[in-house]
């Protein structure tokens, strides 16, 4: 029998995911903060990294929020084969889950109308939460992922419509200069998301996927993965350091996503995720719900 995705459990799961993401840092990020602290050669930077690690422990102890910025909720729903659902109902259930988390916890609504700046105080508005449906060949499962995307790092977003003649060297230079420009404003150490190819909007979206992908995962494309390694080493030679106060730990990693592009295009986009690299997921199968990072 085909798996049916109902809207009531989706609403409850999204409510729980939003709160969970704001309180618990994924294990790979916690481990990375500890790793950078041990490797750091700058004394101020070590103190800053130790404070970040302490903050994670205090959030767990006090059931508190890791960061005051509740972000823009980005929700990705991956649908396996053989799952039937009403997309309109599911979209409404996601928005209801976000509203309930905001009012019932309560959370600061960080979402305003772009012209009037009016805040509905429920973390929603036109086009927010941002909902993306994806599809996967695996049967009988649905995965819901929620990223509360903070604004300090989101303001470190850059698009370059480079020329084919600028080549990969131009891409590398653009990424290094973007990290320099963002400096300490984006709450380093960061995950630097790089989107390559596609059209301008696709490149920006790929950069967001790269910045919000679980830390430690690799670009499936071999050339993209090689670029990740080279740029990850390079950005940590800049000396920006945690919080921009100097040191070795400027980024946890540079992560790359790519798409094919046009013969006349060479788009590169950068989107940054701060050290509070928050995300939470739930995988739903006929056997039940499994919670994860």
């Amino acid at each position: 029998m085909a798996m049916i995705l109902e809207s009531a459990p989706v609403e409850n799961i999204v409510r729980a995911l939003y709160i969970r993401a704001l309180k618990r840092l994924p294990e790979p990020v916690k481990a990375a903060i500890g790793g950078l602290e041990r490797a750091e050669t700058d004394a101020t930077a070590r103190t800053v990294l130790a404070t970040m690690a302490e903050n994670v422990r205090v959030a767990e102890r006090d059931d508190g929020l890791l960061c005051q910025d509740t972000g823009i909720p980005l929700v990705t729903i991956t649908i396996g084969r053989g799952v039937s659902f009403d997309g309109v109902d599911i979209g409404e259930a996601v928005a209801k889950g976000v509203r309930r988390a905001t009012r019932e916890h309560p959370l600061r609504s960080s979402v305003v109308h772009p012209i009037t700046r009016a805040n509905a105080h429920d973390s929603t508005g036109p086009g927010v939460p941002v909902i993306e449906f994806r599809f996967d060949p695996e049967p009988d499962f649905v995965r819901l992922e929620l990223v509360p995307k903070g604004s300090g790092s989101e303001n470190g977003s850059y698009l370059g419509m480079l020329l084919p003649a600028d080549g990969l060297d131009g891409v590398k230079r653009f990424v290094i200069d973007a990290v320099l420009k963002a400096g300490g404003k984006v709450c380093p150490p960061t995950i630097v998301g790089v989107g390559l190819g596609g059209t301008s909007d696709v490149a920006m979206h790929l950069a967001k996927l790269a910045a919000t992908r679980p830390l430690g995962t690799r670009c499936p494309d071999a050339a993209g993965a090689a670029l990740e390694s080279a740029l990850s080493r390079a950005v940590n030679g800049l000396g920006i350091g945690p919080q921009g106060l100097g040191g070795d730990a400027t980024a946890f990693a540079v992560q790359v996503e790519l798409a094919a592009t046009h013969i006349t295009l060479n788009p590169v986009a950068v989107n940054i995720q701060c050290h509070s690299a928050r995300r939470a997921s739930a995988t739903v199968t006929p056997a039940g719900v499994v919670w994860g990072d």
Partner: protein, 203 residues
């Protein structure tokens, strides 16, 4: 470098005695401000009934819970999560904060720009850097929300917090022209050539 606990309101001398690298803990009162607060105060000529003269402000918009008014919650709000936001967006408000409202210290993350540094020297002000994204920890330093003004801008209201040992905070911009953020930015710009060379790219 010194570890200092200060209780506002600060005198100009107390602030001019601070140097980049000192660690300061603030005890007593702290005012919370944000983008919208300052847009309304300085671009739209709104006024606050609070006297910020000699005080410290923090770049924040907290998560709060509405609760019945009482001794523990004189403003009807309990703190849920109080953290710090990126300061540079609010760079152009440093001068009026110091010159018109008499603010003596700005607490934020990421640092401020050249005009703020000049204003700190002229009027006697400092920038105190907190570790951004550490709101769970910061919230433990907040005793209570004593009062709130301009609350139609919630969460970007003008908040009055009672704080116990808020810090340690690092003095990163002082009245003597020192700016630790700019030192790091200049070094990073200098490192750019070598970093690009390591990638096989000419600068």
């Amino acid at each position: 470098m010194a570890d200092i606990t200060l209780t506002p309101p600060f005198t100009e001398t107390m602030i001019r005695d601070l140097h980049a690298g000192d660690r300061v803990t603030v005890r007593g009162t702290l005012f919370g401000i944000r983008d919208a607060t300052q847009i309304h105060l300085f671009d739209r000529d709104r006024h606050t009934r609070f006297d910020l003269s000699g005080h410290a402000v923090i770049h924040t918009a907290p998560n709060v819970r509405s609760v019945p008014i009482g001794p523990a919650h004189p403003a009807g709000y309990a703190p849920v999560s109080v953290g710090t936001t990126t300061s540079l967006r609010m760079e152009r408000f440093t001068r009026p904060l110091l010159q018109r409202l008499g603010v003596r210290a700005i607490i934020g993350k990421g640092g401020l720009g050249a005009d703020s540094l000049a204003a700190f020297g002229t009027f006697g002000g400092v920038y105190l850097a907190v570790v951004g994204g550490a709101a769970a920890l910061e919230t433990t330093w907040i005793e209570r929300i004593d009062d709130v003004d301009l609350d139609d801008l919630n969460p970007e209201s003008l908040w009055k917090f009672a704080v116990r040992d808020f810090g340690p905070l690092l003095v990163t911009m002082d009245t003597h022209g020192n700016d630790l953020h700019e030192v790091v930015r200049a070094r990073a710009r200098h490192n750019r050539t070598a970093v690009l060379a390591g990638l096989g790219v000419t600068s």
